[in-house]
């Protein structure tokens, strides 16, 4: 079961130069705000896909029931 801190580290490590704020009330539903230069020029869908790509197939919707995302460029 990941913690909010672990998800934050994972996102920041997976998308170099990004900053992530991750919150969870129950360690199953998470919400994350991710700011990354790597998002520039990408559509919202592509930005979210970049973050989703850091997770194993089935992990989102599985151990992590939900990850609500808000992506921004710096």
């Amino acid at each position: 079961m990941p913690t909010a801190e672990q998800l934050k580290e994972r996102i920041e490590a997976g998308i170099p130069g990004s900053r992530a704020e991750v919150e969870t009330a129950d360690e199953v539903h998470f919400s994350a705000r991710v700011v990354a230069g790597a998002f520039s020029g990408l559509s919202r869908v592509q930005q979210h896909q970049l973050v989703y790509g850091l997770f194993a197939p089935g992990e989102l919707g599985g151990a992590i029931h939900a990850l609500s995302l808000k992506t921004e460029t710096p």
């Binding site: 979210h48 989703y52 989102l60 919707g61």
Partner: protein, 133 residues
């Protein structure tokens, strides 16, 4: 012929419906808060949309996610393109962009005459709740 009829059926549904939402449950009875929020945003724009409940068969979700490279449900497609999940649809609704993307003017306009398309012959392999009528 393809060796993956389910994936073909999903691709066809995306192709044949201008606006199609893959969700948990139905618009009348969403089975997940994220699906419920997305349906509410769509309904608020007044745009007609088709909906597919992915719950009856877990393979629908598997194949859909493989096709769209999007791991979670709901997923909204407009004119064959993935617009996003609950978060993006929510953002687009708040900024007013959703109505534009869906091709409906924000409420001011008189309700456009929606030509009731005849349902395609033969029962579709996916249970599509066709709300284009």
């Amino acid at each position: 012929m393809s060796d993956n009829p389910l994936r073909d059926a999903i691709a066809e549904a995306i192709d044949q419906n201008d606006v199609i939402l893959f969700m948990k449950g139905t618009p009348e009875q969403p089975m997940c808060g994220f699906s419920a929020r997305t349906v509410a945003a769509l309904q608020a724009t007044g745009a007609p949309f088709a909906a597919v409940d992915i719950l009856p068969d877990p393979r629908i979700r598997q194949e859909l996610s493989a096709l769209s490279n999007w791991p979670t449900i709901p997923q909204l497609f407009v004119h064959g393109e993935l617009v996003g999940g609950a978060d993006i649809v929510g953002e687009l609704y708040e900024t007013g962009e959703l109505a534009q993307i869906l091709g409906v003017e924000p409420p001011a306009d008189a309700p456009a005459e929606a030509p009731a398309e005849a349902a395609p012959a033969g029962a579709p392999p996916l249970q599509i709740d066709n709300r284009l009528g």
